[in-house]
C-alpha cells in the first residue's frame, strides 16, 4: 500500500506550525499507524532530516499516551480504537492521510504531534480521588457493592486519559473525562464522603484550565476509544447542581447535617 501523508510539523510550543507532505511507500496492511510512522521516520533520519515527534508508549491501547487526529477524526476512522491499535488495513491504498495533533487551548502543542495534557493531571489533583491513606482500610468485603454499580463504575473507570474527547469536541470540552471520574467515584460507597466537594473542585479546575463546556454534540462519545458514554456527563451535571445547592445552603448557615442528608447513599 502507498499513502500520501500531510503531517503537522511544529518545532516547539512557541513556533508556528505547518503541514508538510511525505510519501509512505510499501506499507503493509498489518502495520499499525504508528509502525507506519516509524518507517517514515527511519527514512527521514537516514536522509538526514528530523523525524516526526509523536506520542506513544504501550502500543496496546491502554496507556493513553498516543493520539493524533487523522483526516479530521481523533484516533482515526475506526470506532473504539486508539491510534496505536489502528492498522493500515483500515485505509485504502493511495489514500491521503492528514495527521495533526489534538487541537485545544488547554492542550498546547509541545512539538509536532505531541501536546501537553498536564491539565488532566491537575484536574485529578483537585479532587479526583478518595482520601484513603495507606493502612487505614477496612476489609475489602466489609462493604458489599451491588454488581450493577460496580460494573457501571468500571465502565467509567476505563477512561485512559488520552484526550480524544477534548480533541473531538467543537468546544474542546473535557467533560467526558471529568464526568467519568466523578461518576466512578460517586457510584461507590467509598466515594460518598467527598462526593459534593469533589465535583465542585474538579469542575472549577476544569474551567480554570480553559476547557470549553458541553453543548451535547456527542462527538466525545463517538471518538472515545474506550466507549465512555455521555451519560457520565449527565451524572456529573446532576451532582454539580446538587453540590452547589448544598454549598449554597452551607453558606447561608443551614445545618450541615441536614444538607449532607440529601446525598444519595449508595450512588446511582
Amino acid at each position: 500500500m502507498n499513502f500520501t501523508l500531510r503531517i503537522w510539523r511544529q518545532k516547539d510550543a512557541k513556533s508556528e506550525g505547518r503541514f508538510v507532505t511525505y510519501g509512505a511507500k510499501d506499507v503493509k496492511e498489518e502495520m499499525s499507524l504508528l509502525e507506519m510512522l516509524d518507517v517514515v521516520n527511519k527514512g527521514l533520519i537516514e536522509r538526514g532530516e528530523e523525524p516526526v515527534a509523536f506520542d506513544f508508549d504501550c502500543r496496546e491501547g491502554i496507556c493513553g499516551t498516543c493520539g493524533v487526529v487523522i483526516n479530521g477524526r481523533a484516533h482515526g476512522p475506526r470506532a473504539k480504537t486508539t491510534a496505536c491499535q489502528l492498522h493500515m488495513r483500515s485505509f485504502r491504498d493511495g489514500d491521503t492521510l492528514t495527521i495533526e495533533p489534538w487541537r485545544a487551548v488547554a492542550f498546547p502543542v509541545v512539538k509536532d504531534l505531541i501536546v501537553d495534557r498536564s491539565a488532566f493531571d491537575r484536574i485529578i489533583a483537585a479532587g479526583g480521588f478518595i482520601s484513603a491513606p495507606i493502612g487505614s482500610a477496612p476489609d475489602g468485603n466489609a462493604i458489599p457493592i451491588p454488581k450493577e454499580n460496580a460494573d457501571l463504575a468500571m465502565d467509567a473507570a476505563s477512561c485512559i486519559g488520552c484526550g480524544a474527547c477534548v480533541a473531538a469536541c467543537p468546544n474542546a470540552s473535557a467533560m467526558l473525562f471529568v464526568g467519568a471520574k466523578i461518576s466512578q467515584l460517586a457510584l461507590l460507597p467509598q466515594g460518598q464522603p467527598e462526593r459534593w466537594d469533589r465535583v465542585r473542585h474538579m469542575v472549577a479546575q476544569m474551567d480554570a484550565e480553559g476547557f470549553g463546556t458541553c453543548t451535547n454534540h456527542g462527538e466525545c462519545e463517538a471518538a472515545c476509544p474506550k466507549s465512555l458514554r455521555v451519560e457520565f456527563i449527565a451524572r456529573m451535571n446532576a451532582d454539580f447542581m446538587r453540590a452547589n445547592l448544598i454549598a449554597g445552603r452551607r453558606a447561608a448557615g443551614a445545618e450541615e447535617g441536614e444538607a449532607e442528608g440529601e446525598g444519595e447513599g449508595g450512588g446511582a
Binding site: 493531571d121 480521588f129 484513603a132
Partner: protein, 637 residues
C-alpha cells in the same frame, strides 16, 4: 561487597511483625525535614511516593512519561493475587507463600516471599478503599479467578484491566499528595545518573525531555521503581519507553545487579507478523481459565482449525500436566509451546504459534459470559490480527514479558549502596527464577504501600545528613558525565538508526539468551555483543540537538545501556550452569524435558559487581537457605 540480607530472626510468620516493632522511627514532626526521591510512577513508584508523602516526608517523584498515569503497570491485564480465602477453597498466607516459592523454582528468599503473601491481604483492602472497581458477584462481594501455578482462586481482577485500575488508584493517591504540596512531580524527566556521596545515594541527574536541560536533585534517600528491562530483547510486551537506564546507572555506581538472566517469557502473546513490528502484545494468562491450548497432532497440518477434528488435536498442556492443565506456570507453558513448534506442529503463517481456543467455553457458558470476562482482550486481539476470536481460535506464541532479575536489595529493599532503595520489578527480590501470574501487581503495591514506608524511616533515623553544596565534586562529576555522554551520542553522526541497533541486539538476545540456552550459544552471544556495541558508538545517527525534545536521543541513551546489560545477562546465564524456572540450559534437563536444578552448586542469588569499563564484573553469591520449605522437584503433573 556486603550481601547481608538482614532477614530478621525468629519464626517465618513473625519476622515482619518483629522487624516492624524493632525498627527505628522518625517522629512525625521530623519527617518533614527529609526529602526522598522516587524515580518511577508505576504501582511501586506512585504507591511508595504517595504513602511516604502521607507520612509527612517531602517527596520528589520523576517519570519519563507525560503523566504518572502512563506507567507500564497500567498494561497489566489479568489480576492480583491475595490470600484472602474468600472462596473457602483452602487458601492461606502459607499456601500463597509456598506457591510463590515453588513457582520461582526455589530461587527466592523465604522471608521476602512470606512478607509478600502476608501483606497481600492488606493490598486488596487498600485498593477497595481507594475506589478500585474490582469485579463483584451479584451479592456485592468481590469475585475471584484462577491463575497459573495455583490450585485455588485467589486472583482479584477488574475485567482485563486490573493493572490500569490499580495504577489509577495509586495515581490518584499520588495526585492527592501533589495537590497538597507534599509531592513535587516531574513528568517528562528521565534519570541519567545517580549521585553517590561518601558512599550514600544522595541525588540524581535528570534530563528535562522537553527542554533538554540537565537538572540535579538532591535528597536524603533515593528510591528507584523504574520497572524491568525486558526491552533488551527489542520485541517484548513492555511499553516502548521501558528501559534499564536508571538501574544500570546505579549498577555502574556500585549497586549489585542480581540474577540478570532471569527473564520471563510469557506463553500467550500475539505472534510476530513482520520485520517492521515495534512490539508484541500480551493476551492475559486469565484467558487460560477458559481457553484451551492445542496444536494439530500431525506435523505440517495446514487445515483451518475448524476442519481439524477433535481426535486429531493435541491439547498438549492438558496431556502433559493433567493437574494444572492449561494453567501450568508460564515458564513451563512457554517451553511446551516452543517444543511443539520446533517439532513442526506450530500453526499460522510462520509456524510459530499455537491455538488458544474458546469454542468449548463459549458452548458451556455462552458468548455473553465470555464477553463480560474478556471483552477488551478479544477486541484487542481482533484489532491486531483482523480475526474474530469468538469464531476462530486465537493464535499465540511466547514473548518476553517480565524480568525477575534486577538490582540486589536486602530485606528492607535497600541496595548495596546505602540510601538507594529499589522497589517493584526493578529489584530482584520476590519471584526467584519464575514469576507466577498476578504476582507482579502484588509485589509492586506491597513494596510501595507497605514495605518502603516502614523501611525508609529505619534508614533515615539511623543516619545523619549534612547539606550537600551544589558544587560538590561528585555532583559536578555526575553532571559532566551525563553532558559528555549526550554530546558523544549526538556527535557520532553515523549511518544507522538507533532502532536498527536495538533490533539487532534483540535478535542476539532472543537467539542466544532466550527460552532455551546453552554454553555454546551464550558464548556466541558474548562474542557478538561487544562488536555491536562498538559499531553503535561509531556508526549510530542521532539527529537533532540536546537542547530540545529529541526522541531519537532518548532512545539512543537507553539502547546504549541495553548494549551493556545484554552482555551481563549472557554472562550470568553462562555462569549459572543449571536449569531453574525460566533459565533453561539445554545441557541440564530431565528425561521428560523439564528443568534440572542443581541445588548443590546454585541454590544462591548471583549478584554482579561492576568493576569498570572493559573489565569483567565480579560474581558474588548470596546463599539461599530454606528452613520452612523442602527443596523439591517442581511438579505440575
Amino acid at each position: 561487597m556486603d550481601l547481608s540480607s538482614n532477614i530478621p530472626s525468629g519464626p517465618l510468620e513473625k519476622k515482619w511483625e518483629k522487624h516492624r516493632s524493632e525498627m527505628k522511627l522518625v517522629n512525625p514532626a521530623n519527617k518533614r525535614k527529609y526529602t526522598i526521591i522516587m524515580v518511577g510512577s508505576g504501582l511501586a513508584g506512585a504507591g511508595g511516593a504517595a504513602s511516604m508523602a502521607e507520612l509527612g516526608y517531602n517527596v520528589k517523584c520523576f517519570c519519563y512519561q507525560d503523566s504518572p498515569r502512563r506507567a507500564h503497570s497500567i498494561a497489566a491485564q489479568g489480576g492480583i493475587n491475595a490470600a484472602k480465602n474468600y472462596r473457602n477453597d483452602g487458601d492461606s498466607v502459607l499456601r500463597l507463600f509456598y506457591d510463590t516459592i515453588k513457582g520461582g523454582d526455589f530461587r527466592a528468599r523465604e522471608a521476602n516471599v512470606y512478607r509478600l503473601a502476608e501483606v497481600s491481604v492488606d493490598i486488596i483492602d487498600q485498593c477497595v478503599a481507594q475506589g478500585v472497581p474490582f469485579a463483584r458477584e451479584y451479592g456485592g462481594l468481590l469475585d475471584n479467578r484462577s491463575f497459573g501455578g495455583a490450585q485455588v482462586s485467589r486472583t482479584f481482577y477488574a475485567r482485563g484491566q486490573t493493572g490500569q485500575q490499580l495504577l489509577l488508584g495509586a495515581y490518584q493517591a499520588l495526585e492527592r499528595q501533589i495537590g497538597l504540596g507534599q509531592v513535587e512531580m516531574f513528568t517528562y524527566h528521565e534519570m541519567q545518573e545517580l549521585i553517590v556521596i561518601d558512599g550514600r545515594a544522595r541525588g540524581i541527574v535528570v534530563r528535562d525531555m522537553v527542554t533538554g536541560e540537565l537538572e540535579t536533585h538532591m535528597a536524603d534517600a533515593v528510591c528507584l521503581a523504574t520497572g524491568g528491562y525486558g526491552n533488551v530483547f527489542f520485541l517484548a510486551t513492555n511499553a516502548k519507553g521501558c528501559n534499564t537506564t536508571a538501574i544500570w546507572r546505579a549498577y555502574k555506581k556500585g549497586a549489585a545487579f542480581a540474577n540478570p538472566c532471569f527473564t520471563q517469557i510469557h506463553p500467550t502473546c500475539i505472534p510476530v507478523t513482520g520485520p517492521y513490528q515495534s512490539k508484541l502484545t500480551l493476551m492475559s494468562e486469565s484467558l487460560r481459565n477458559d481457553g484451551r491450548i492445542w496444536v494439530p497432532k500431525e506435523k505440517g497440518d495446514k487445515r483451518p482449525p475448524g476442519d481439524i477434528p477433535e481426535e486429531e488435536r493435541d491439547y498438549y498442556l492438558e496431556r502433559m500436566y493433567p493437574s494444572f492443565g492449561n494453567l501450568a506456570p508460564r515458564d513451563i507453558s512457554s517451553r511446551a509451546a516452543k517444543r511443539v513448534c520446533d517439532e513442526g506442529r506450530g500453526v499460522g503463517p510462520t509456524g510459530l504459534g499455537v491455538y488458544l481456543d474458546f469454542h468449548d467455553a463459549i458452548a458451556r457458558l455462552g458468548k455473553k459470559k465470555i464477553e463480560e470476562k474478556y471483552r477488551n482482550l478479544f477486541e484487542m486481539y481482533e484489532r491486531i490480527t483482523d480475526e474474530d476470536p469468538y469464531k476462530v481460535p486465537m493464535r499465540i506464541y511466547p514473548a518476553t514479558h517480565y524480568t525477575m532479575g534486577g538490582l540486589w536489595v536486602d530485606y528492607d529493599l535497600m541496595s548495596t549502596i546505602p540510601g538507594l532503595f529499589v522497589l517493584g520489578e526493578a529489584n530482584f527480590s520476590d519471584h526467584g527464577a519464575n514469576r507466577l501470574g498476578a504476582s507482579a501487581l502484588m509485589q509492586g503495591l506491597a513494596d510501595g504501600y507497605f514495605v518502603i514506608p516502614d523501611t525508609i524511616g529505619n534508614y533515615l533515623a539511623r543516619e545523619k545528613f549534612e547539606q550537600i553544596p551544589e558544587d560538590h565534586p561528585q555532583v559536578r562529576a555526575a553532571q559532566a558525565a551525563v553532558a559528555g555522554r549526550t554530546q558523544r551520542l549526538l556527535g557520532i553522526q553515523g549511518r544507522r538508526t538507533v532502532t536498527s541497533f536495538h533490533r539487532e541486539l534483540g535478535k542476539i538476545m532472543w537467539d542466544h539468551c532466550g527460552m532455551a540456552r546453552d554454553k555454546k550459544g551464550l558464548e556466541e552471544g558474548l562474542a557478538k555483543i561487544p562488536g555491536l556495541r562498538e559499531e553503535f558508538w561509531n556508526d549510530v545517527r542521532v539527529p537533532g540537538s540536546g537542547s530540545e525534545l529529541n526522541q531519537s536521543l532518548e532512545v539512543a541513551g537507553r539502547v546504549a545501556d541495553f548494549l551493556e546489560l545484554g552482555e551481563l545477562m549472557c554472562l550470568d546465564a553462562l555462569e549459572r550452569d543449571e536449569s531453574c524456572g525460566c533459565h533453561f540450559r539445554t545441557e541440564h534437563q530431565m528425561p521428560d524435558g523439564e528443568a534440572r536444578r542443581n541445588d548443590k552448586d546454585f541454590c544462591h542469588v548471583a549478584a554482579w559487581e561492576y568493576t569498570g569499563e572493559g573489565s569483567k564484573p565480579i560474581r558474588h553469591v548470596e546463599p539461599l537457605t530454606y528452613e520452612n520449605v523442602e527443596l523439591a522437584v517442581r511438579s505440575y503433573k
